[in-house]
C-alpha cells in the first residue's frame, strides 16, 4: 500500500512498514486463493499500526468484507485510516485494546484475523503503553501481548476462520502453535525468514 498521504511526522509515534510488514504482505498475497475460498464477511486486524496489512487484505479479497482494525495508539488509528483511504480500501478503525470492545458480539464470527504483534522481548513494565512502544514491546519472551490475544482469537474466530500471526524465534513459535492446537486450531508455518 501507498503511504504517501501519511504526514512523515506521524511516524515518530507509529511503526513504519519494515521487513516484518513486507513478509506479512507477501504471505497474504500467497494466501489470496485460500482467503477467497473462505468467503470472509468479517476480517479483523489486532494492532494495525500503519494500516498496511488490513488495507492490503481489504483490497485483495474478491468479495468485499467488513474489515475492522484496532489499535491502542491513537496516532496509529489515525494513520491506519489515512492509509486505507488513500489506497481506496474500506477499513473501519476502533481505538481499543486488542479486541475487547468486540469480544462478546463477534464471538465465533470473525472469518480472518491478522496480527503482527509487538514481539520484541522487553521488560514487562514496557508493555501496555499507548504510544509507539506498543508496536514492539512484547515483554517476557516477546510473548505477553500475544499470550493475551490468543484466547480472544479463539473466542472470535469463526468455525472455518483463519488466524495469521507473525512471530520471531525468541517468541517460541512451537509453543504458540501448541497453545493454538489445544484450542482446536490447525496450524502451519506459511513463511519463515532469517533476518
Amino acid at each position: 500500500p501507498d503511504l504517501q498521504d501519511v504526514p512523515l511526522s506521524m511516524f515518530d509515534n507509529v511503526y513504519e512498514p519494515c521487513e516484518d510488514t513486507y513478509l506479512f504482505l507477501d504471505t497474504l498475497e500467497c494466501e489470496r486463493e485460500f482467503l477467497d475460498s473462505l468467503q470472509p464477511s468479517i476480517c479483523l486486524e489486532i494492532g494495525s499500526g500503519n494500516g498496511c496489512l488490513i488495507t492490503h487484505l481489504s483490497r485483495i479479497l474478491s468479495t468485499p468484507a467488513l474489515c475492522i482494525a484496532t489499535d491502542i495508539n491513537a496516532d496509529a488509528a489515525t494513520v491506519t485510516s489515512i492509509t486505507a483511504r488513500s489506497n481506496n480500501a474500506s477499513v473501519e478503525i476502533i481505538l481499543s485494546d486488542l479486541l475487547s470492545s468486540l469480544r462478546t458480539r463477534l464471538e465465533s464470527k470473525a472469518d480472518v484475523i491478522l496480527m503482527n504483534p509487538p514481539y520484541v522481548p522487553t521488560e514487562s513494565s514496557e508493555v501496555g503503553t499507548r504510544d509507539i512502544a506498543a508496536a514492539w514491546a512484547g515483554g517476557i519472551n516477546g510473548r505477553e501481548v500475544v499470550d493475551k490475544a490468543l484466547p480472544i482469537v479463539k473466542d472470535l474466530i469463526s468455525p472455518n476462520g483463519a488466524f495469521y500471526l507473525l512471530l520471531v524465534e525468541e517468541n517460541k513459535p512451537v509453543e504458540v502453535m501448541r497453545i493454538m492446537k489445544s484450542y482446536g486450531f490447525k496450524g502451519q508455518v506459511l513463511t519463515a525468514k532469517r533476518a
Binding site: P64, I72, S90, I94
Partner: protein, 121 residues
C-alpha cells in the same frame, strides 16, 4: 464508524454487564457516502447482525429506510436499503453512551475511542 461496526460494539467497562448493548449514539455529524452496492457483502453479514439493536439505533438517529424485518437473502431491494444504512452511513463525530453504566466513548474523525482507564479494567 459505519452502523455495521456500531452493531458489533459493546461497553466492556469492568462490572458493566447489563444493558451494555447497543451503545446509544449521540451524533453531531453523520454522513452518507454512497458506495457500490454489493449484495453478497450484505447477504454475508446478515446472519451476523443484531437486528433489534440496528432497528433501535436507526430509530434513535431518525434515519429513514430500514426494512421492517431482517430481509430475505434474495430480496435485493431491501438488501440495498440496508446497504445504505449499515455501509454508507458513517458517524463522524459524537459519542457512544452505554445505557447500562453511562460511560461515554467519544467518536472523532469517525474513530470510536473504546479505550478504558486503568480503574475501569
Amino acid at each position: 464508524m459505519r452502523l455495521l461496526t456500531h452493531n458489533l460494539l459493546m461497553c466492556n467497562r469492568k462490572g458493566c454487564s447489563t444493558n451494555n448493548f447497543p451503545l446509544r449514539i449521540n451524533a453531531t455529524n453523520v454522513t452518507s457516502e454512497s458506495t457500490d452496492f454489493n449484495p453478497d457483502l450484505i447477504r454475508n453479514v446478515l446472519p451476523k447482525l443484531d437486528w433489534a439493536a440496528l432497528s433501535q439505533t436507526v430509530g434513535e438517529l431518525s434515519l429513514p429506510g430500514l426494512p421492517e424485518a431482517c430481509p430475505a437473502a434474495d430480496d435485493d431491494t431491501s438488501l440495498q436499503q440496508l446497504h445504505q444504512l449499515i455501509i454508507d452511513t458513517h458517524v463522524k463525530e459524537g459519542e457512544l453512551i452505554c445505557n447500562g453504566c453511562g460511560r461515554s466513548y467519544p467518536i472523532k474523525n469517525g474513530i470510536p475511542n473504546m479505550l478504558l482507564n486503568e480503574d475501569e479494567l
